[in-house]
């Protein structure tokens, strides 16, 4: 399903953290959000996923207006996400973390859960299988029974991806999935994201690793100080002078241009 963001914005104490940002993320593609620190990328994710309430603009999923829906209902619309600062369940094992992601798929009811009846047990068995498969996809099968509190930062990043995947989402928001990963792990995450998009899911990615962004994105949206300053394919963005200015400063941009001409 496509995710359409139209003029979305929010202000914190008069400062517009995100200001009138619009873009569309299409199924089967990786759309990346880039920009310098403090550009409003994570805030944008929080707006889209219902953690914050937007003060302006709309979010639509396949044309359906979902602006202002609470986070758990957005999840039910097929949106899943990972978090920049990690929101794993530290007291649970890796497996239980991911099993929790199966919540929406679990066909059980409170009575069955309390009495340990068939629906509760079957749901648990099914969730365990789905979670094991997702852990394997994220390269964490060997760590299934390890408490999340004992896993490395890079592993937890991938654990969050596995947990988001089992929700059965069609739209996946990934906030710096490769942070804390070494080169080999980054490559694995890269492959995983690519495979997820190939399945037809809509992937929106925030990432600082520019090589990764350029490699896997179909579409790139550049934010600076809460505003969208550019949008386009990797090649367009690479050569966009405004983008270079935002990253390197106006001075640096001039130098870069001079270097390009030389």
């Amino acid at each position: 399903m496509s995710l359409e963001i139209d003029g979305i914005g929010i202000a914190f104490g008069g400062i517009k953290a995100v200001d009138g940002v619009s873009f569309t993320a299409k199924p089967g593609e990786v759309t990346s959000i880039i920009g310098p620190n403090g550009a409003g990328k994570t805030t944008l994710f929080n707006l889209v996923s219902g953690v914050y309430r937007a003060s302006a603009g709309t979010v639509r999923i396949d044309g359906r207006d979902v602006t202002g829906l609470p986070a758990h209902e957005l999840a039910r619309c097929g949106m899943a996400r990972t978090f920049q600062n990690l929101q794993v369940f530290p007291q649970m094992s890796a497996l239980d973390n991911v099993m929790t992601g199966c919540h929406m798929q679990e066909k059980s009811n409170l009575l069955a859960d309390l009495l340990g009846l068939g629906p509760a047990r079957r749901a648990t068995v099914r969730s365990r299988d789905a979670a094991m498969a997702a852990l394997a996809r994220a390269g964490l099968a060997d760590l299934a029974h390890r408490p999340a509190s004992e896993m490395s930062y890079g592993q937890l990043k991938r654990l969050e991806i596995a947990r988001a995947l089992v929700t059965g989402c069609t739209i996946l928001l990934l906030d710096e999935p490769a942070a804390g990963c070494n080169a080999v792990e980054t490559r694995e995450v890269d492959d995983l994201i690519h495979a997820i998009a190939e399945e037809g899911k809509t992937v929106v990615l925030i990432e600082h690793d520019m090589r990764m962004v350029m490699r896997i994105s179909s579409h790139i949206v550049v934010l600076d100080q809460g505003r969208k300053i550019a949008e386009g394919g990797p090649e367009e963005i690479r050569t966009n002078s405004q983008v270079i200015a935002a990253y390197l400063g106006v001075h640096g941009a001039a130098e870069a241009e001079a270097a390009a001409h030389a």
């Binding site: 996923s49 219902g50 953690v51 609470p70 986070a71 758990h72 999840a75 039910r76 899943a80 996400r81 978090f83 929101q87 794993v88 369940f89 530290p90 007291q91 649970m92 239980d96 099993m99 929790t100 992601g101 199966c102 919540h103 929406m104 679990e106 059980s108 409170l110 069955a112 859960d113 309390l114 009495l115 340990g116 509760a120 047990r121 749901a123 648990t124 068995v125 969730s127 365990r128 299988d129 094991m132 498969a133 852990l135 394997a136 996809r137 390269g139 099968a141 060997d142 299934a144 947990r163 988001a164 929700t167 694995e188 492959d191 995983l192 690519h194 495979a195 190939e198």
Partner: protein, 344 residues
């Protein structure tokens, strides 16, 4: 590129899944809920084997009743991470309904069920607004709720007998056992009933922990934001946990009223709420066995060491402080850790 990634990843999953399935089969013969029930049943029987007098049975009955109430706290505090300092209020609603019912011609079992339903309903109605709060704010709000209930019980003397309390007439557990031809003393009969109900309560709490709803509760405990992002309706889940824990307290209260034959508003007092939370924290708020150990120690200790009588609340406070400093997760996890470390 993508295909390569997936084939490479399939190999480990198969072995992992197989290992897991094997593990699961051994466990599937007897589910965690039933296992807990059986362990509790053995402990109840063990008590009966060693108790020399009715007095011990009475203390034992109290232990099981408290275990049941504290199991409710475990669900709320241990699973979801919500602190309630007003659960004695729900306990008292169960107790007083059971006491008042027969005075108006309502048979004990029905009065009991009514009290439990009332407590659950109150938790449902009050829970929605209160459970938006967290941490100290929630603790204070529940404290207020408990105080309100306690005040009603103390002031409405025409109904509750006021501060002096009231006698509870009606059902005696002996009659239950007579039906099957067993002649037990009243104290023994109540002991078995309380133990049985506590065992069922423990089994239910363990079932919950291992179920979809239980995983949702534990998720909320660790991260509200992540739980929401996975489609968990946090407000609803918290409300359910609150109602469930209130029902535990109310059933325990009803049992106490019947077993003791007498109740006072203090069953709904602030100190009783604190006692329940202390028991849970001392034993280890995350498990039903923690509830049992906490209830056992804090029920039996003051009874067996009567020297504490005047200092009971001081000792309670001291135990709380020491637990928080030395073993924050409670006795049961603390000992389990020691045990595991010795083994390895």
């Amino acid at each position: 590129m993508a295909g390569q990634g997936t084939t490479a990843a399939t190999a480990p999953v198969d072995t992992a899944r197989r290992a897991h399935a094997g593990n699961g089969k051994a466990r599937a013969l007897i589910g965690p809920g039933l296992r807990t029930f059986l362990i509790f049943a053995v402990l109840v029987a063990l008590g009966a084997l060693i108790f020399p007098s009715s007095y011990f049975y009475r203390v034992g009955t109290l232990v099981w009743i408290n275990t049941l109430a504290v199991t409710g706290i475990v669900v709320l505090l241990g699973y979801v991470g919500l602190v309630s300092l007003g659960h004695a209020g729900f306990f008292a609603i169960g107790a007083y309904a059971t006491a008042i019912g027969p005075n108006y011609g309502i048979p004990s079992p029905l009065a009991m069920a009514g009290g439990v339903a009332l407590a659950g309903l109150l938790a449902l109605v009050v829970g929605r607004p209160i459970l938006r709060l967290s941490g100290y704010y929630l603790a204070i709000a529940t404290l207020g709720l408990g105080m309100l209930i306690w005040m009603v019980l103390s002031k409405e003397a025409w109904l509750t007998g006021g501060p002096d309390g009231m006698t509870v007439s009606g059902m005696n557990a002996r009659n239950l056992f007579k039906l099957v031809g067993l002649k037990l003393k009243s104290a023994e009969a109540w002991y078995w009933v309380a133990g049985f109900v506590a065992a069922i309560g423990a089994a239910i709490a363990v079932n919950l922990a291992n179920s979809p709803s239980g995983r949702a509760l534990r998720a909320i405990h660790d991260s509200d934001v992540a739980a929401r992002s996975l489609g968990i309706d946090v407000a609803r889940a918290k409300s359910r946990a609150f109602v469930i824990s209130a029902i535990y307290a109310a059933v325990a209260g009803a049992l106490l009223a019947l077993a003791n034959g007498y109740i006072t508003p203090e069953t709904g007092g602030f100190m009783h709420s604190v006692e329940m939370v202390t028991m849970a924290v001392l034993g280890g708020a995350a498990s039903v066995f923690g509830a049992l150990v906490g209830a056992l120690i804090l029920t039996a200790l003051p009874q067996l060491l009567t020297v504490f009588a005047d200092y009971e609340h001081m000792v309670l406070g001291a135990i709380m402080v020491v637990t928080m400093i030395a073993m924050r997760r409670g006795l049961v996890p603390f000992i389990a850790d020691l045990w595991n470390r010795r083994k390895s």
